[in-house]
Amino acid sequence: MKFLHKILEKQRPLFEKGGKFERFFYLFEAGETFLFTPPTTTAPKGVQIRDAIDLKRLMMTVVIAMLPCLLFGMWNVGHQHALAFGKEMSFMDKFLFGAWYVVPMIIVSYASGGLVEVIFAIIRKHPINEGYLVTGLLVPLICPVTIPLWQIALANIFAVVLAKEVFGGTGMNVLNIAMTARAFLYFAYPSQISGDVWTANENGEVIALGTQGLVDGYSGATALSIASSAGTQGKPVLEAFAATWSEGLFSFWNLFWGAIPGCVGETSTLMALVGALILVGTGVASGRIIVGVFAGAYVMGWIFNLLSSNTFAQIPPHYHLVMGGLAFGAVFMATDPVSASHTNVGKWIYGFLIGVLTVIIRVVNPAYPEGIMLAVLLMNVFAPLIDHYVIEANKKRRERRLVRREAI
């Protein structure tokens, strides 16, 4: 592969200062460093050796951890379609049906996010950041399969510009970028991302009511929306789950397994946990945050049981852990190291509060059946505050030491 590097290096003067394509230097560099780890060596002073890790490899690990959710999601798109129309489809048929609609979402997401990234790299003269490898895949996974592709593009552009680039790029952002993209869609185009939009018809569009061939009693509602409306009607939630159009669809274990309507990648708690295993096992994501979110959601669910304000509040707390996007959000969104708490103690608190807030939003606020998105964004904003107190505690310990010494 040396010859390829030589060819690339030959082009370098074109992109360097004074070269014809000077403006595109960072694009050139991104391309080259994508193909080749650069031959840079350590400085004469400072460490003489460096760890084998780099940001690219780290981001790749996150992408790999998302694959179980992605692959399962593709299958589930097909599976939900088959359920709705009572079709017999093989495993492969379901998977290919899903892939046919999900792959374009990913391509559009990467293309739009990447484009903004490149434009900013050229204008702002900074290297292209690997962060978008992750964001680009996260966004399709937290959208319904039926979403118009242009909305994905728009959401990506909005989020990359306003949540990331205006702050200076990867590492400087305050909010989680993928969650910002989703929040944008949620408030700008609510009709395409809420309601019964989760299951696709043959053309990958939302199933219109009264479509021919639908199974009797079909409803595209998610577990959360059923639970939420059961809550307002005063019906026990578990009964509402049991009375659904497809038998066992909202049983606890099916919710855990994830063969339910929902966003492409978020339905399966099991696959999110596989991702968590990869992320925590490789040390890439903080297990503190993930455990914190689950613990917070469980505890809050349990407190609601005690308060018992409506029937949704009475749902056994462990249901909260498998419904909606909680698991996916806990594993892939809350753990974003940049927007999360930076201190180890802070990570526990941050995760726990995300779990608590998610359940509060779900149960108390009828307008937003899904709470994890808002909970993560809200806690993103509060993460520096949590860190502030952890840091102050560290400073205080040092101060007390001084006072103690002076007292002697």
Partner: protein, 458 residues
């Protein structure tokens, strides 16, 4: 007192090329050099010799205009052959052609019993003019101690836990009496309540040289690198608060002080380890402070595309194959240069690799075999990025310090935060492992020094 302080955090870097316990003592360096840059925080040095002057071991070469009483003296006898200056006449180095037979400047000699009756007033001038004072480093800042200051404690780490570090029991063998004399001298120049602490490696057997030292408090430490760093040991025994001063010495410095008083000589001979994967037979050599390394490495290096490092791979600095040993260094490490591009799929960021990593991210397999000795080159293994990952520095810094926030306080020029977050307790070497494991490939040691300088100058 025999309690062991166990540190859980840290990371041992096992490299190929550990020195065999074999001493070569018949190689004599051609030149030695005194390099002002070896003395961190040095102001403007004033040279007191001229080219062509003949000097003895212990003859003053230069001093720092901001601390005029501390002399930097010649490690050997011979002729001053070059006073090299750079831009704005900045002194780069003073080179001395070394005699084969070292001629020592004579200092007062004492017997052990005479030592006991010496006073601080008698001792200080000897320490300052002979050149041994340069061994006393003060915290905060990690600079040569100010003779006017009174420390609250003295710390001496008796082992080096850094990669391929020399075995102190080997390089200081037979120096017990000088070590003890050095301790006794130090005891005389500090107040009664100022203890001298020896950091002892709990994993090794009790050291013959250090284990029996009197007038000191032994503190046993166990853990991974940087457990041998004196800063880490201070933090766990008597952390430095604002306004306090702690002095630190390498055992070598204590022995040098002992020799000054017992033998009446400034003895700058030292035993160093020549180590690293590119050394044919890694072993120990007897040499001098600042020695030209050419004769030592010649014929003992496997190939020519290598980097010579004075010191260890974490805190050392690059020198030429005919460069000079750093003033405070006890080892020369030779590792391959890593300046070749690596294709993404064969050995780049998408390929599994056995290259050493503290992390376990995708494809990083070195954690499966942590005790394997590895060959590491100088590649940065990636490009510099903004801080993205959190929580890794904490895993390799065994102190109650928030490394990321201290670094950010420095970058933000926030003096109050730096102070409150513990800038007084650290120097570069404490952050060396953080720099090694850093995903963002930032120069953390340089940032720490920048912060220290800001606080010093404020």
């Amino acid at each position: 007192m025999s309690d062991v302080i166990r540190l859980k955090k840290g990371f041992d870097i096992n490299l190929v090329g550990k020195a065999e316990k074999r001493l070569i003592d018949n190689i004599h360096p051609d030149t030695v050099a005194l390099v002002p840059d070896d003395f961190v925080g040095m102001g403007r040095p004033k040279v007191v010799v001229q080219e062509g002057d003949l000097v003895k071991a212990g003859t003053p070469i230069f001093f720092d205009k901001s601390m005029e009483e501390v002399m930097f003296t010649s490690p050997v006898s011979g002729e001053v052959v070059e006073i090299k200056r750079g831009e704005k006449r900045k002194l780069l180095e003073v080179k001395i052609l070394a005699d084969k037979q070292i001629d020592y400047l004579e200092f007062e000699r004492y017997t052990v019993s005479q030592l006991a009756s010496l006073t601080k007033e008698e001792i200080m001038p000897e320490l300052l003019r002979s050149g041994v004072w340069t061994n006393i480093i003060q915290r905060p800042y990690g600079i040569i101690a100010n003779p006017q200051d009174t420390p609250k404690a003295i710390f001496i780490s008796t082992f080096d836990s850094s990669p391929l570090a020399p075995d102190y029991d080997f390089i200081f063998k037979g120096q017990e009496q000088f070590f003890q004399a050095g301790i006794d001298v130090l005891k005389k120049i500090v107040p009664h309540n100022c203890n001298i602490y020896l950091g002892i490696n709990a994993k090794a057997e009790v050291s013959k040289i250090f284990g029996g030292t009197k007038n000191v408090i032994l503190k046993k430490f166990e853990g991974k690198h940087p457990v041998g760093n004196v800063g880490v040991q201070i933090h766990h025994v008597s952390p430095i608060n604002k306004g306090e001063i702690v002095w630190t010495l390498n055992p070598y410095g204590v022995i040098q002080i002992g020799k000054l008083f017992l033998n009446g000589e400034y003895d700058a001979s030292k035993i160093i380890a020549l180590v690293g994967s590119e050394v044919s037979s890694p072993q120990y050599y007897k040499t001098f402070i600042g020695a030209n390394i050419e004769k030592y490495v010649k014929g003992n290096i496997k190939n020519d595309h290598v980097r010579f490092i004075s010191g260890n791979v974490l805190t050392g600095h690059k020198i030429a194959s005919n460069g000079h040993l750093g003033f405070y260094d006890h080892q020369i490490t030779v590792i391959p240069e890593g300046d070749r591009p690596r294709f993404v799929l064969s050995d780049g960021w998408l390929a599994p690799t056995d290259r050493l990593s503290f992390h376990r991210a995708f494809g990083l397999l070195s954690f499966l075999n942590p005790n394997k000795e590895r060959v590491l080159d100088t590649s940065t293994n990636g490009e510099e990025r903004a801080f993205v990952v959190t929580g890794t520095y904490e895993k390799v810094l065994p102190m109650d310090i928030l490394p990321m926030h201290l670094i950010k306080a420095i970058l933000a020029n926030d003096y109050d935060a730096m102070e409150a977050l513990g800038i007084y307790e650290v120097i570069e070497e404490d952050f060396a492992l953080c720099e090694f494991v850093d995903v963002a490939k930032q120069d953390l040691q340089a940032i720490i020094r920048k912060g220290i300088n800001m606080i010093r100058e404020s």
